[in-house]
Amino acid sequence: MFVPETIFVEREVLGAPMVRRCRSRAPDVPVVEIDDRRQLLGEGDVASSKRQLVLALRRSAFLEHCPAGTRGMACCNYLVMHFASNCPMDCRYCFLQEYLAANAPLTAFVNPEAGLAEIGAMLDAHPERQFRIGTGELADSLALDPLTGLSRELVPFFAARPNGLLELKTKTTAIEDLLDLDPCDRVVVSWSLAPEAVVATAEFGTASIAHRLDAMRRVVAAGYKVGVHLDPLIEHDGWAEGYRELIAAVAVAVPRDRLAWTSMGALRLSPGLRTRIRERFGPLPLLAGEQVPGLDGKWRDFQPLRVHMYRQIRAWLTEAFADVPLYLCMETPPVWEKVFGETPPREQLLGATLAAR
């Protein structure tokens, strides 16, 4: 469980239920009252910002369209909610170290009821549509859950909504709050997975693969469906064997009918992120692959190489999980066509297919 060195609380929300819960779950952590989280911007570096926790009011919208479908990329019509910002883990490739560089304090927003009201209004306004909504864009969905208990508010909300499917995306094993809730098949708990060699060298502070697989088993036993994201795919010595063994391990851990979807995504690094990684960590094998700028300006393994990886891994996924939907994240339609032999479905169709799982 993540235990912050200090908890900063905006005075305005001192009495919020989530604040009380955090303080009771981490009674030994010193608490500092502040006027506004924005006064912490620019203080400390990325690493130190991950060791503190700020409890604050979210003053802007919680819900937005996933940005992955922009600039010529195929889209799965995914919506994201921002109940937190930043992450206590420190994956070397994580885009947050650049994206949140000027807004780094690890923050849990303590007014989730406002976010749920936003979502409820949208779901109610479009009862004929199926929505797939995730909380893992600017934060790990579960990393702060042992403190905030947010899932105890999210799961019952979505369990009662026939047209909203919640995805909790994580690299942790912080599932305890989920286990006594009934998701009514409206909540998917997804894990980002990579071969252990990648975890050891690039995913600092995350749970081991063995522990993630064990957590998968436990949430499945508690009635949840799970998702698997092989994203980012990282080429390394023995990558093929690593991903093949990983998929085999998932197949043992998760019954096929409890797997909602799988996805693959190439390692993608913006030029600014590459610079940021070099500044923070120096030269890394992660940066030494044959990556080139793509149509959206992000660097990926050059196309014939990543198509090779996609096809190989897709074959293993299809063999293990024949009927489970598989999609590519942040990839161009031509690459999608090379991997699947057909053009990507229109975003509404793909989104609806996944949301109906």
């Binding site: 590459r274 070099r278 120096g282 030269p283 890394l284 094998p285 940066l287 030494a288 044959e290 080139v292 700028p293 793509g294 149509l295 050059f302 196309q303 014939p304 190489l305 198509v307 090779h308 096809r311 161009t332 031509p334 690459v335 090379k338």
Partner: protein, 178 residues
Amino acid sequence: MLGPPLVSGGDAVASAAITEMIDARTADWSDHECVALGRVVDVLRPSPRHLRDILDWLDDIATRDAGRPGAVLADPGLSRLLAARGSAPDRLKRWKEALRRLRYPRLVAREAEATTLIRGMALGPAARIQLPPALEGGALTVTLTVTSADALAQALARLDTSLRAGDIARLFGLLDEL
């Protein structure tokens, strides 16, 4: 750390940027490695942008090969180009191309294979086939430049010959998968 004599040309701002970049990026380099880099900068006079590429690639190659930037700089092909005649911009271009071959061996090999295939098609001066930059996107650009109907017919006939011989399909195969 390298001293001021490293930069022999360029404006003061670029020189300062280069010195600053080198100081920041070579803090753990040996004296021998710094001298080797200093010679590269002195001879090729890269802009800050080119120098950043060079430093990135040196680090990347060294990391990938579990070696040192100095070992990359000692590559015989790079050393030969550094000693070659020609203008600084021309030598910088060729030296960076050689470094790129070390940095992207599979990509460059695939590009070279495709370029050889295109040359072998003998399309003549009227037709040109261009590869996508870094093979990204998978689309070939075919350009026809003609001044008469006969020239167009001839260019199309040559393309058709390559098409029927399977050369174009082989080209797309090279763009498809490693």
